[in-house]
Symmetry: C2
Subunit: 469 residues, 2 copies
């Protein structure tokens, strides 16, 4: 397929026109936009959340929380830009004498890449959509954004986009700073990635879709970076000491809520729980089964996602050594809970594929010594959780090392769903959880995806004087 315009309507070209202006915009200008966008979302909170619920079924409480997070995120990036972090200049003074110790004056700045194509996710209609973290971080970094709307919440995307355009108009900013591609077909996304004006892609979605788009980004006449958050089976390892620190009912309730939240349609949902067989762990499993069977359920994001979930459940329940405790019934969509012995889990790679939905597989180890090998059998993940590692021990250290080697975030208390938007956050781990594990799509480092360094060597005084101090 060649680089054809998306139609006579061409938001990527509009973004390219807006790019030079936005690249040299000041921190106050960028912050003012981000803050106004947050305010606009809040001022239209009720109708937006209602529309989001209508399209996604994710529930009003959760969606209000997601809108809060999205506004918090926009303001966090505004504060970050105002603090001058993105505009910092790294200077090496000149040193007299011949090289290598002698050197000219060097001033390193970060410059924006240009228009970013952003592929919205189905499961976060606010936080990973039109005004989500990718858009906020790209705008903060000085890049226009063209959002590929997710078909699962198209009306909400258009409503939010309409608000964005109002704010841009009010602030007399180019309308091309944020564009929307909302055509239903795959070709619209393909044309966006192939559009010569696009300089980077941020994607959150399936491994299959992400791989295809990544290939297109690499095969362009001018290849561009592709930041994809793909699939992740997030392990949760329960050390035996966890059960002495907290009642197993409490732990089971926490985990069940995390697995069932939003019908399990979250990238940080724990997918595999690894524990050691004991009275306490058996009680924990029974309690988890009870809680998951009773957990409130709602329709999944799309019929296709529901179908894929049921087919993954079917595959899992027919795998060798898998013992099903809770499963969806024909008349009632619901959670899956199953157990498998450590040896059977390690032997079957298929058990380590992501199931997108409220499913959790418990891997039961005969003793402590199997915990590390089970964790080491797993691929890269967004987050690994270790319960019961509060005390220093050789086992705790081995588990931290194994978790560090295969996750972007390692969590020691609570559940992995719910990703805090902080400066130090890391949401992106080794393959397949992320195509660029050195990057993050949540937290203030997310801006770095859309910047590249340029060093000015022996720059004239007028240029140095114009750089931020």
């Amino acid at each position: 397929m060649t680089c054809t315009p998306l139609s006579s309507f061409d938001p990527a070209a509009d973004a390219a026109h807006a790019a030079p202006f936005w690249a040299v915009s000041t921190p106050p200008t960028r912050a003012r936009l981000l803050q106004a966008l947050a305010l606009e979302l809040e001022q239209h909170r009720d109708p937006l959340v209602a529309l989001a619920h209508e399209e996604t079924h994710l529930g009003l409480v959760r969606l209000h929380g997601e809108l809060d997070r999205t506004c918090f995120q926009l303001r966090a990036f505004a504060d970050f830009v105002l603090a001058g972090r993105l505009h910092a200049v790294e200077q090496d003074g000149a040193v007299d004498g011949p090289p290598p110790s002698g050197r000219p004056q060097m001033a390193r700045v970060l410059v924006p890449l240009g228009p970013v194509a952003m592929f919205a996710a189905s499961n976060f209609p606010f936080a990973f959509s039109v005004l989500g973290g990718d858009t906020a971080s790209a705008l903060a970094a000085g890049c226009p954004v063209v959002v590929r709307a997710h078909p699962a919440h198209l009306r909400l995307s258009r409503a939010v986009f309409h608000l964005v355009q109002q704010v841009l108009h009010e602030q007399q900013l180019p309308s091309g700073l944020v564009g929307l591609v909302d055509g239903a077909s795959v070709e619209h996304g393909v044309a966006l990635v192939q559009h010569p004006a696009i300089q980077a892609v941020a994607f959150t979605g399936s491994t299959r879709g992400g791989l295809a788009l990544q290939g297109l980004a690499a095969q362009r006449a001018v290849p561009i970076p592709f930041f994809g958050e793909l699939g992740s089976v997030n392990p949760l390892v329960v050390l035996p000491t966890a059960f002495s620190a907290q009642p197993s009912e409490v732990l089971a309730a926490q985990l069940a809520a995390s697995v069932a939240l939003g019908m399990g349609q979250f990238c940080t949902r724990p997918g595999v729980v690894v524990l050691v067989d004991s009275d306490a762990s058996r009680h924990f499993i029974a309690e988890l089964a009870r809680q998951l069977a009773a957990a409130p359920m709602h329709p999944m994001l799309t019929p296709a996602i529901a179908k894929a979930y049921l087919s993954a459940v079917q595959a899992l329940r027919s795998a060798a050594g898998v013992n099903v405790l809770v499963e969806p019934a024909p008349e009632r969509m619901g959670a899956l809970l199953a157990t498998v012995k450590a040896d059977d889990f390690v032997a079957q790679g298929d058990l380590r594929h992501e199931v997108f939905g409220p499913a959790v597989l418990i891997v039961v180890c005969n003793d402590d010594s199997a915990l590390v090998p089970v964790l080491e059998s797993m691929a890269g993940a967004l987050v690994a959780t270790l319960w019961g590692a509060e005390g220093d021990s050789p086992l705790a250290r081995q588990l931290v090392a194994a978790a560090t080697a295969r996750a972007g975030r390692v969590l020691f208390a609570g559940v992995p769903t719910g990703v805090a938007v902080t400066r130090a956050q890391q949401h992106g781990g080794p393959w397949p959880s992320s195509t660029q594990p050195a990057s993050t799509s949540v937290g203030l480092h997310a801006c770095e995806r859309f910047l590249r360094p340029v060093v000015y060597q022996s720059a004239p005084a007028w240029l140095l004087a114009g750089l931020p101090t």
Copy 2:
């Protein structure tokens, strides 16, 4: 091709065995190794430089300088590691209350990726080879390295590798920390990139070779990052004011030396000079022709490189509107100097392909207004040079903007050959000069290629206590 071992001899597997130890090594341990490697090179300076000259013909003076730079670089990374920059922890304290403003405690660290495959370049037998910047930055970052030796200086590579092994032995470090693959065939490089133990690739070489290896890295069962420095046609724009600031003879002598240095076989050599027609610029061109015709020449790195150079010269001289002033003769390998008018240059994309050798094409503009469009017709480059931009003017600002948009380094005085190893250096620009323009292969930021962030959330006291402060 499947992931077959390189042979019974498997340096990537050895690197994988050494990786966990090196990943947790302390700054003093890493610095001691880097410093000892620098000392070892210096202590064997004369025979190593003699051998390098024998294999590459690059000249003793230049090769001594390159060895100096290589040792300086190893020590700079040692100092960087000792200063704790790579081991810094970014902490967000816990904040009470519900999310999004409430948050758990977060501690972000950088962890090494694991074994790095490093493809040596033909043209820097020290600085981009066995102990070059890629190896120094990977070792500093905590990653073992497997060097793919360049066939153009195989004996030197083996000699340096032998010294490395002696130092590793003396310091009782695993021999797998630095490996060497020196088989002559392409398949050895392919097998290295496909080896499951390899976690990242650093490559300096041709666009064709780099693209092929990048494809292999992306198609692995577990894809890995590929940091390639490929081709670059580095523009040098001469504003008319440059000729009033310095005599054109001086400028011509500087440029001729930069173009002819090492038979022009350097990635930062200026390939296209853009200037405005005037008496001064005509004098400059005539002087440049005189200097280039008289510049000392020597055999190129390999017969294949010489053949490719002559064939590129032939293509250039037959392009429309190209006027050849200096060219290699059948009996004497030498520089190429040609001029072309701005319109003819912009119209012919073939004139903007890299010629690897002592070639420079002068683009002559009728007036100032053509300088920016000519620069904007060019692709991404490692370095863009602007002569005569000392004074603030709209034209200078436009040229800085155009240069910033397409280069990793923008230079305002002197010549682009010779890359200072400093903290702020940036050696990597937009496509095709680099496959990852946010990364650098020279300067202290080079370590970042081989690290990824991991955040510990609500980490136990014993873990936080073990992190560097």
